[in-house]
C-alpha cells in the first residue's frame, strides 16, 4: 500500500468515526421512529422501512442508528474514566521502583484477576441497570489496561540518558514526566484509546445482550441481538443487521488503533526518517 493511499484510508476512517458521533447525537430525533407499533410488526424491507421492522413494529434502521448512542457513550465513558485514571497511574508506576509503584501494579493484577462479567453483575445489583452502570463496569477494567500499557511504554524511557540529563538540568520527576515521558508515549496512549473504544462497544453489546446494559426504550445493538434470537429462523436480518453494526464499529476503531500504534513506532513509520542530513 502506498503512503498516499494509507493516508486516504486513515482520513476516511476518521470521517466514519465523526459520522458515528453525529448519529449518536442525532439519536433523540429518531425517537418517534422506533415507537412500538404492533400493527407494523415484522414488516419486510421496503421504501418506508429501509431495513424492515421487528416483532414490536419498531423500525430496524432507526434502531441501528439509535443504537450508536448507547454504544458510543458507554464506550466513551469507559475510555475516559479508564484512561483518565489508568494513564496517570501507569506513569506514576513507571517513574520509580518503590512501594507506591509496586502497589499500583499489584492493584492492576488484582483487577485483572476478576472476571469482567461477575463485576458487571455486582455493579448491576448495586446500582441497577442503565447506561451509567454499563459504562462504569467496563471502565473498571479499562483502568489496568491503560495503566499496564503506559507503564510498559514509559518504563524503558526512564533509563535513557536524556532523562539523566534532564535530572542534571534540575528538573523533578513530575516535570520530566510532563515534558519528556508523556509526549513520547502519547501516540501509544492514543492507539490504546482507539482500541479500547472498539472493545468498549463490544463489551456494551455483550452486557446489553445479557440484560445488564442500557434499559428500554433506549435502543442497543446487544439487546437487538438478544430479542432477535427467538426469531432467527423467521427473520434472520434482525440478528444480522445489529451484528454487522457491532462488527463494523469494532473493526473501525481497532483498525485505527492499530494504525496509530504503527505510527508510534518510528521504524514502521514511512517517509519520516529518511531525510538524514
Amino acid at each position: 500500500m502506498t503512503h498516499a493511499l494509507r493516508k486516504k484510508i486513515m482520513g476516511g476512517s476518521l470521517m466514519l468515526i465523526f459520522l458515528y458521533g453525529a448519529l449518536a447525537i442525532a439519536m433523540p430525533l429518531m425517537e418517534s421512529a422506533y415507537q412500538i407499533r404492533i400493527d407494523f410488526r415484522l414488516m419486510p424491507i421496503s421504501s418506508t422501512h429501509w431495513l424492515g421492522t421487528d416483532q414490536f413494529g419498531r423500525d430496524t434502521f432507526a434502531m441501528v442508528i439509535g443504537g450508536c448512542f448507547a454504544s458510543l457513550s458507554v464506550a466513551a465513558m469507559a475510555v475516559i474514566i479508564g484512561a483518565g485514571i489508568g494513564i496517570p497511574l501507569g506513569l506514576i508506576a513507571s517513574a520509580s521502583d518503590n512501594i507506591l509503584s509496586r502497589s499500583i501494579l499489584s492493584l492492576n493484577d488484582f483487577i485483572f484477576a476478576f472476571p469482567a462479567l461477575v463485576t458487571a453483575i455486582l455493579i448491576h445489583n448495586i446500582f441497577g441497570s442503565g447506561i451509567i452502570t454499563a459504562g462504569l463496569a467496563i471502565s473498571i477494567f479499562n483502568i489496568p489496561v491503560f495503566a499496564r500499557t503506559l507503564y510498559g511504554a514509559a518504563r524503558p524511557l526512564w533509563t535513557k540518558d536524556f532523562i539523566k540529563a534532564a535530572r542534571l538540568a534540575g528538573k523533578n520527576t513530575i516535570s520530566i514526566a510532563a515534558t519528556h515521558i508523556l509526549p513520547l508515549v502519547s501516540s501509544v496512549a492514543l492507539a490504546q484509546i482507539s482500541m479500547q473504544m472498539g472493545l468498549g462497544i463490544l463489551a456494551e453489546a455483550g452486557l446489553s445482550y445479557v440484560g445488564l446494559g442500557v434499559v428500554p426504550p433506549m435502543p442497543s445493538w446487544g439487546r437487538m441481538l438478544n430479542e432477535a434470537q427467538t426469531l432467527i429462523v423467521i427473520a434472520p436480518r434482525l440478528a444480522i443487521i445489529p451484528g454487522l453494526a457491532i462488527a463494523a464499529s469494532v473493526f473501525l476503531f481497532t483498525w485505527i488503533g492499530d494504525k496509530l500504534s504503527d505510527y508510534a513506532d518510528p521504524k514502521r513509520r514511512e517517509g519520516q526518517d529518511h531525510d538524514r542530513a
Binding site: 540529563a165 542534571l168 542530513a277
Partner: protein
Amino acid sequence: MTALDLKGLSVTLGSRCVLDNLSLTINKGEIVGLVGASGSGKSMTARALCGLLPTHAKTNGTLTLNGEPIALHDVEAFAAIRGRDIGLIFQDPAGIFNPLMSIGDHVAEALVRRGGLAWTHAREKARIALDRAGLPNDIPAFDRYPHEVSGGQRQRAMIAAALALSPKILIADEPTTALDVTTETGILALLRQCADEDGLGILLISHDLPILERIADRLLLMKNGRIVESSTLPLSNDTAPELARLYALGHKASIHAAHERRAPLLQTKSIGKTYSNKSQFLLGSSDTIHALKNISLSLGESEIVAVVGESGSGKSTLARILAGLDRASQGEMIWTEGKGRVQMVFQDPAGSLNPRWTIGQSIGEPLSLSANHPRVAEAARDAGLDPAFLTRYPHQISGGQAQRAAIARAIIRRPDLLILDEPVSALDFEIRDQILSLLERLRAMHGIAMIFITHDISAARRLSDRMIVLDKGEIVESGITADIFSAPDHAMTKALLAASSSEERVRS
C-alpha cells in the same frame, strides 16, 4: 597464494553508488585491515563478499575465491560457500546467538547444517573448536547459554563457529568494538594465530586504526565507497599520507602542563556503593555486591582527571554518584563553598537527546530557554555546532554533531564539573579527535573541571592531568598521567597500557 581476489566491485542502491570500483586481494595467512569512517562502505564491502547485499542492489565486478570465479549476484552460489569457504563474524555477538541454545550447540549447528555431520559427532568437533578458540573445557562454556558467558567469550565462540568448517577466508566486521581493551588483545591474538597456523586469510574491518595497526599485515583506507590508500606496515608519510595522518591523530600527546597547583573543587571521602543481590526468592540469602569501595579523590578547579578501568570496574557507578544521579552507600562528597554544579555527557550521543525534541530545545533545557534564545545558539557555537542545526531533530544529524549538542547542553549553565562518561567511544576516529580537541578548548575557555571516564587509554593520556585506575570498584593506582604512563605500578594499569600500546604487535 591468493585466497580471495575482488576486481572492480561497484554496488548501486537505487540511484546511490555505495561502492565504486573496489579491488582487493587477500592472500593465505594474511590479515588485511580495512579502515574508514562510518558510512564509507566498509560493511557494504563485507556484505558483498558474503553475498549478503540487499536484493535490490545492482552489482558489477568479479570475485575469485580460491581460484574459482563466483558471480556476485548469485545468491545460491554464495549460500553454498558461505560458512564453508568464507566465514563471517560481527561486532555484537549477543545479537547473533539464540538465547535458548547453548554455546556448544551453536558451534555444532554450523557443523551439522553446513558440514553434514551428525549431532553427536558435531558436538565432539565443536568442543575441539571451542578449545582452540580459547574457551577451554575446564570453564564449561560448552553447556552455558549465551547470557552466562562474557562478551569476550561470546566473541570467541562466534569465531569458533565461523572457523569450525575451516574456511579459507574470514571476514571480521568490527569484531572487538564492543569489548574491553584486555579482552580485545586476546581476540586479536586469536585471529593472528588462526592466520599464522591455518593460513586463514582475514579481512579485518574496523573504524579503529590503532587496532588494525597492531595486527594487520596490510592496511586499506576507505572513503566514500572507494579504497583511497593501501599500505603495508609500518606506515610512512610517503606511501600513505592519509593513513599516517589518521594514525598520528590517535597518538597526540597531552599538550598541557599537569603540575600546577589548583584551587580545590571537590573532595570525596571513602565513597562506597553496595548492592544487595536478592536472588533467592523468599529464602532471603542475599549477598552484598561492592560496586565501589573506599573511593577517596580530590579534584582541583579546571582539572581533568581520567578514570580508567575495564568494564565492570565501577567507572560508571562512580560517574553517577559524582553527578548526584545515584547515592553513595558510604562516605561523603565535599564541594568547595559555592560550587557544585555538575553536568554530564554520555556515551551514546543519540540516546542522550530526546528524539522528539529539536536540538535547540534540548540544549536550552537546563536553563528552561526556548530553542531560539541567543544563549542556546551561543552554547552551540561554543561546542562547535553550527546554529543551523538547532532546528533539526536528533535523527537528522550525525553522531559527532549529536555529541556536540550534548556537550552544548552540558555547558550552557557553566558547570563547575563536567562528567564525561565514555564520550568518544561510540565515535569515529576523526570525530573522536575533534571532540577531544573541543573538550580541551572548553577547559581552556571556561575553566571547567572534568572527570573523564574511559577505557580508551590514549584518549585519557591526551586529555587528562591526573589519572585514576579502577579495578573491581577500588582505586588501584592514581597519579599524574604522564608519570603513570612512564612507570605504571599496578598489574591492571600495566595490562591496560599494554593493551592499548600500538608499538607492541600482536603475536600468536
